[in-house]
Subunit: 477 residues, 2 copies
């Protein structure tokens, strides 16, 4: 007899004899009704125990969290709330769960408590829904790129290059940290380390992805990246997953089209495939927002927000236009911003981005053509000599979701820029080679996957959308 | 006018006016025929230049490696070797390639030379085919699990736990490596480090995957893992990608079924979707093997080998049976093995595995029920008290492809085992919790993705199936 899953049985509308199911007890009430979950769906299946003919000792062990093996019949439910239920013939306790000790009792737990029990938190509806959505979004990412002729590329995690400049890096070493070998000048002698040089955890796979784009045409990465920055916020992780497509012969306009189409496609995918989980998370968000002042509540529900992104064009606005809007907006004039926008060239802060997206345009916004001196060395200089073909995509409630650019394809301009910024050409000889041999316009972007999961699930803290978050002072599990 | 890809145009069998294409020159012969490649397929498209009406200065710049933009017409080819070709109307040189300097000349390069130029090696047929296959296999992995109700889980890369015991680990730190803070006893004070404790790069996501299997039912990981072992062989990397499914309520027999079905499915996928690349790699392997003595050549071609795996059952053999076979085999009796098999309990070496797979059974073999003391602490002890429900899947030419087990689900037995091996219970409190609350039979396995890519591509060195290999003394790019 094949063991069925809850998802399979709930999709039936016929009576079935001799079914078998294994799962965990969510609740057991009236000595009769087990709500059984096996992770295959958000929903539990009701299993009705014939308590008069069941051993008392067994009944006492049907606790929340216990693993059980049930044999019985799938029948039309007599009660409300479910179409079908299982009439239990036999129940075996596979693994007990002490009712006094089990941390995940059937009541509301704080997210902070659940973070401390992250190994058990997917036994709650909220976290099982979040992690199923995360999985579904991951698949949607791979499917989108595969369907569109991109090749998936695994860029290196350990890197000998620290020239990417995207942030503080973690060091990777196999040396004895207490007594590392030293050079004559007193510095650590990394020639004695595993790789024969100083190595770090990557902050981005972009530069390596460019090498593959310039031969395979369209590639993407989807892997872990790292920042050793002491940012203890609800939006930052020390270890997070990043998606980075890179395309040869594509300019900045094409890059915007790609990013917008990509975002719409993956969100459509979960709207289609994850309705149950989304409906649950939508209700959770509504409940959470009821505790907040009216002004902080969303105008749209979770599913409405996702549909809004799928159905509407992203607003494309140049940095220069954005500065004009910000200079003349009320919060700037009334000095409500922490950083007052006074002139062109200012770096936009989160408060400005939020104003543009949430108050002014009320939709996802693509800002482009930023001042060169606030952006990375590899971005394509415009003909005006002062802006670069950069783009940031800003999302309501999340802020920056995507950062991308057309890359500087001209060897002389790139070398000049690296010289100005004191980036060693020898470190990036291979990156420069791409501009020496068959260079061409190319572009790409990076998208922090956890930000996308936050948007799609309505979760407010990035620690709650990744299985085991890594943050300052925390590498538990 | 939309730019076409080579793959699109080669699939047409009609004449097309006003087509446009961008790519890189592979060869230019007779001042007339460009073989153009853009990575979308192994194949080049022939572009015929009207040299009498093309600027001499342009013709001189059509070198191997140059990026060009061609406008013209797709016509039936007059020559042999292709059905269609492009009659060039205009050609623009987007990026030059100096014929004297460009490393990737149209001739045979050694793999060693190409490893030193790994940023350019996908501009060769061999490496573009390998990396397209790698990408396709990755997608097949995700598709298989998605189609079969598994959730993809991103297990942490930085880990505070060193109890997994799968190998030497790299240390991760943000401390000043020259002058780390020290405790009174002279050891490094990791409470001052980023995570407040000593952290390493993960060797496996299994233990964390178990936590999710015990709530979501069926999960898998597919991410980078690390070994700081000084193994300078053609089969080891310091950084490699691992696939680790983990399933609740599944025993060792189910684990074998899953692994076999999975391998067959992903290999079928590439047989169906990557015929061109496989045919090319098959021919490459044949050419390579011609240089070897007859005895070292494969009996089957690459595609035959893949089909053989897809079409035949894996042979399931207990460790005890395998020892019997080995004890009595010719190479053991004639002392041809480096390690002579004398009695039950011996750890099998690569030479023994190869004998079983390549000489004795001549098919993939699943060895199971190994002696407990040569396997990891988390494997399910059999009722005999001396063997564990472990399995290794051995492949011809590759050796161990998969290692897995049913996990020890009994709290008391697991704790006893950890005590014997001096593994701190406090380190793995969360892992033990899984046995306290709703424990159940569960199983999983790990598969080194690069081994799979080697098997599917016929490449002999693991450094040639990952974009930027990390090995002792090498973290270039």
């Amino acid at each position: 007899m094949k063991t069925s899953t809850v998802a399979e049985l709930l999709s039936k509308d016929i009576t079935l004899q001799d079914i078998e199911i294994k799962g965990w007890v969510r609740t057991f009430r009236a000595n009769r009704f087990i709500a059984l979950n096996d992770g295959s769906t958000l929903h539990n299946i009701q299993c009705v125990v014939d308590f008069e003919n069941t051993d008392e000792a067994i009944l006492k062990r049907i606790n929340t969290g216990a693993a059980v093996h049930i044999k019985g019949e799938l029948v039309e439910s007599q009660g409300k709330g479910q179409r079908v239920e299982i009439q239990v013939n036999t129940i075996d306790i596979l693994g007990d769960s002490d009712a006094d000790e089990y941390p995940i009792q059937p009541k509301k737990h704080s997210f902070e408590f659940l973070r401390e029990n992250a190994h058990l938190r997917t036994r709650t509806n909220t976290f099982s829904a979040v992690m199923r959505l995360r999985s579904s979004l991951s698949f949607a990412v791979h499917k989108y790129f595969n369907d569109n002729g991109f090749y998936y590329m695994h860029t290196p995690i350990i890197t000998g290059s620290d020239a990417e400049g995207a942030g503080e890096m973690f060091k990777v070493s196999a040396l004895d940290s207490k007594n590392p070998p030293l050079k004559e000048d007193g510095n650590v002698d990394y020639t004695k380390d595993f790789f024969g040089k100083e190595t770090n955890l990557t902050v981005s796979g972009q530069l390596e992805a460019e090498t593959y784009a310039m031969s395979l045409g369209k590639v993407y990465t989807f892997g872990p990246t790292f920042r050793a920055e002491n940012s203890n916020t609800s939006r930052h992780l020390a270890e997070f997953w990043m998606i980075e497509p890179e395309v040869a012969f594509m300019d900045l306009a094409g890059n915007m089209d790609l990013a917008e189409d990509f975002m719409k496609s993956v969100l459509s995918y979960v709207l289609e495939h994850n309705q149950d989980d989304l409906k649950f998370l939508e209700q959770r968000l509504l409940d959470e927002e009821k505790t907040k002042p009216q002004v902080e509540r969303s105008e749209m529900s979770l599913i409405e927000k996702l549909k809004f992104v799928v159905d509407n064009n992203f607003k494309r606005v140049s940095y220069t236009e954005a500065i004009d809007i910000l200079k003349n907006c009320k919060p700037n004039k009334k000095k409500k911003f922490n950083f007052i926008i006074e002139e062109w060239g200012a770096d936009l802060q989160s408060e400005h981005e939020r104003f543009l997206v949430e108050k002014h345009f009320k939709c996802p916004v693509i800002l482009f053509d930023y001042p060169a001196n606030i952006k990375a060395f590899y971005m394509r200089l415009n003909e005006d000599g002062k802006t670069v073909r950069a783009m940031d995509i800003l999302f309501p409630g999340i802020g920056e979701m995507v950062g991308g650019s057309q890359r500087e394809e001209r060897l002389d301009v790139l070398k000049e820029k690296m010289k100005t910024l004191d980036i060693d050409e020898k470190e990036l000889w291979w990156y420069l080679d791409l501009r020496k041999y068959g260079t061409a316009v190319h572009s790409g972007f990076g998208l922090g996957f956890e930000r996308l999961v936050m948007f799609a699930t309505g979760m407010g803290n990035i620690r709650d959308v990744i299985p085991y978050p890594r943050t300052p002072q925390n590498a538990e599990f």
